[in-house]
Amino acid sequence: MAQGEVNEVDEIIVIGGSAGSLEVLLQLLPQLKSDFNIPIVIVLHRRQGGDSPLVELLSTKTKIKVKEAEEKEIIESGSIYIVPADYHLLFEKDGSFSLDASEKVNYSRPSIDVVFSAAADVYASSVIGILLSGANADGTKGFEDIKENGGVTIAQKPETAEISYMPENAINNDVVDMVLTTDEIAAYLNEL
């Protein structure tokens, strides 16, 4: 696939959140360095239907480019991608996204597990997974796959989560490397 100087991405950060996670992102994104280079993929559970203004909202909080992940789009460094509502997101070996409208997983589409596992499959030890507030068990299986492939898993400190079930579930299943507050997550990422 030698196609000239495509800006090849070899690392990726995947962030999953459900109820109570939007506030965390609104705090986290402004703290990231404006030249933060590793692509970030954000998968949030949302109520079905209707285009939520998530991209617009998050764009106001950071200088990094925020956009919805598009079908077969090549992933670029220095970008934040939002997984569209009602689709799962997968990663191709050529560095592009694929969307998938198959069965819900953990009652969710997009599912955090699907995105995390797909990232682990392609980016192996170069994945950092971050799991935020939520009332769902989604993300734990994905963390297991990230860890199995040598990546890093970070759970939001349950005491600081509006709904602690989701990060707690991952912690209880022993698939979490670090338990951090929002500020600590920002500091960790800025030092990568």
Binding site: S98, D100, S102, D121
Partner: protein, 272 residues
């Protein structure tokens, strides 16, 4: 222990499926295939990839299940109601004047969207002069679609979708409930032709005023997407319409210069 097939194993499997059974999945999205294969191995509790591969190679009846599970068959009636509202308002009036209307649903799965289209045409008083061709790669889902039988439990959701799509009738007037299932009216079904058609290998078979292919192309790689867009172009009449899924686009295809997109919609009109 969970099984995750390697890239090489996936290639071997796809080669078998093509050489032994003639289904070519070589241009499907690898990420999706990989996930679907792992999922099927888990669902059917195969102890190893080798045993799975053996079964796919040698058991023709299992191959049917393989094709049905590897392809995605998630669908619903009036999926994205706003899309159906746009069909009612923008597309149907434009094709209404034709003496005879031909519609093609490519990748129709179990037919929910085909019956939705039938209801739209019926309500526009056009069904009597319409034929809807509904095709899918998968013979089993085509068989289900042709029967027009769906679970009663889904009708509440479908009825809400129908109303959101601009439907003004009683949704339940379109079907007869029998125990936990419903059968859609013969009047709709007799205007539908269900057949297998493989977008990878089969060619154009008619000229249409409207082609719908929603959430199918996302499972194809770029080359196959281009090929299918060409096939649709060849199969559309001048001023015919092409409708895609909410995250699919004709924008990067080689035929885009012949098409004009309807404002903010995933519907393109062939203007050249």
């Amino acid at each position: 222990m969970e099984i995750s097939v390697s890239e090489e194993e996936l290639e071997l499997l796809l080669k078998d499926v093509y050489e032994v059974h003639g289904y070519d999945f070589g241009s499907y999205s690898k990420a999706s295939l990989h996930r679907r294969v792992n999922r099927l191995i888990m669902l059917d509790k195969f102890p190893s990839f080798a045993e799975f591969r053996f079964r796919v190679r040698n058991d023709t009846s299992y191959l049917k299940r393989f094709v049905e599970e590897i392809t995605v068959n998630v669908t619903e009636m009036f999926r994205d109601p706003s899309f159906y509202l746009a069909l009612r308002q923008e597309v149907i009036p434009a094709i209404a004047t034709k003496p005879f209307i031909r519609v093609w649903h490519a990748g129709c799965s179990t037919g929910e969207e085909v019956y939705s289209m039938g209801i739209l045409l019926k309500e526009a008083n056009l069904l009597h002069k319409t034929l809807i061709y509904a095709t899918d790669i998968n013979p089993d889902v085509i068989e289900k679609a042709a029967k027009g039988i769906f679970p009663l439990s889904l009708m509440k959701q479908y009825s809400e979708n129908y109303i959101a799509s601009g439907g003004k009738s009683e949704f339940s007037s379109y079907y007869t409930a029998k125990y936990d299932r419903v059968v859609f009216n013969e009047e709709l079904r007799k205007k539908m032709i269900f057949a297998t058609h493989n977008l990878v290998s089969d060619s154009s078979f008619n000229e249409f005023q409207l082609i719908l292919c929603r959430n199918v192309l996302i499972y194809f790689d770029k080359d196959l997407q281009h090929k299918v867009f060409n096939l649709f172009d060849q199969s559309l009449e001048h001023l015919g319409f092409l409708a895609l899924g909410s995250k699919e686009t004709l924008k990067f295809s080689t035929v885009i210069s012949k098409f004009k997109q309807l404002d903010k919609l995933k519907i393109w009109r062939k203007v050249k």
